[in-house]
Symmetry: C2
C-alpha cells in the first residue's frame, strides 16, 4: 500500500505531502479537464509518467479517498477511475493555479473566456466540470 509521511499538522504541508510529488495533482487534472478515465489514458497524458509511478499514485489517491476505482460499465474486465467529493473539492485549488499561471507564466496558454469564468463565474464553472467528470 502506498503511503506518505506527514511532517506537521499544517494544512498546507498536508496537501504538499499528499500532492507534492509532481504527479498526483496531474492525475486529478486529467480527470477533471481532459476527461480521462483509464490507466492507459493517464499514461499517455503528455508529461511522461512512468507506469510504476502512475500505478503507485493511483493507489495512493484511492487510499486517500480522492479517487474511486470501479469496474467499467461498458467493459467489465477493465477499470475506470473517477473523483470522489473530496477529489472534486480540489477544483478551486486547480482553478487558482490556472489563474496564477496564466498571469505569471508567459508559456501558459489559457483562453480569455476560460480565465474569465475561472475568476468571475467560478461556481458555475465548477458545477459544469463536476457534471462532465462524473462517472
Amino acid at each position: 500500500m502506498p503511503s506518505y509521511t506527514r511532517r506537521s499538522e499544517c494544512p498546507i504541508a498536508f496537501v504538499l505531502d499528499l500532492f507534492g510529488d509532481r504527479w498526483s495533482l496531474l492525475i486529478v487534472r486529467d480527470l477533471v479537464f481532459k476527461g480521462k478515465r483509464y490507466f492507459h489514458e493517464f499514461e499517455d497524458a503528455g508529461e511522461g509518467i512512468a507506469t510504476n509511478i502512475l500505478s503507485d499514485r493511483l493507489k495512493l489517491l484511492v487510499s486517500q479517498g480522492i479517487l474511486v476505482k470501479a469496474r467499467d460499465p461498458e467493459k467489465g474486465t477493465r477499470h475506470i477511475y473517477g473523483l470522489t467529493e473530496k477529489g472534486f473539492d480540489l477544483l478551486p485549488v486547480l482553478l487558482d493555479i490556472i489563474v496564477w499561471s496564466a498571469k505569471h507564466d508567459p508559456e501558459t496558454v489559457v483562453s480569455q473566456d476560460y480565465l474569465e469564468r475561472a475568476t468571475n463565474d467560478r461556481e458555475a464553472l465548477i458545477k459544469d466540470l463536476r457534471a462532465a467528470s462524473q462517472i
Copy 2:
C-alpha cells in the same frame, strides 16, 4: 543557479514543477502566515528542512521572481526575504488549500473564524495578509 525542468505547457504542471518539491510552498507559507523573514527562521519552521535544500529553494524562488532578497534595514550584514507581487498572487491557492484540508483532513486545526474569512471574506483577508507580510 537552481533550475527546474518544465514538462509541458500546462498551467498546472508549471506550478507543480515549480512548487512540487514539497518545500517551496512552505517557504511562501512561512512568509505569509508566520511572519518569517530570515534564513534561520525558515530553517526552524517545524518540518525539518535541510540547510542545503532551503538555500537551494530560496535561490530558486528568487530566480523565479516569487521572492526578493534584500539587506535587512535593521542590520545590514544580514538578509531578509519577502514576497513579490507574483508571490503574493499565490495567496488564493494557499487559502483554498487551507479550506480543503480543514474540510477533509481530521488532523488539520484551523479556527472557524479563519475558515469563514478564507471562504466568505477572501479579498479582505488577502489584503490583511499582504499588508502584514510587506517588507
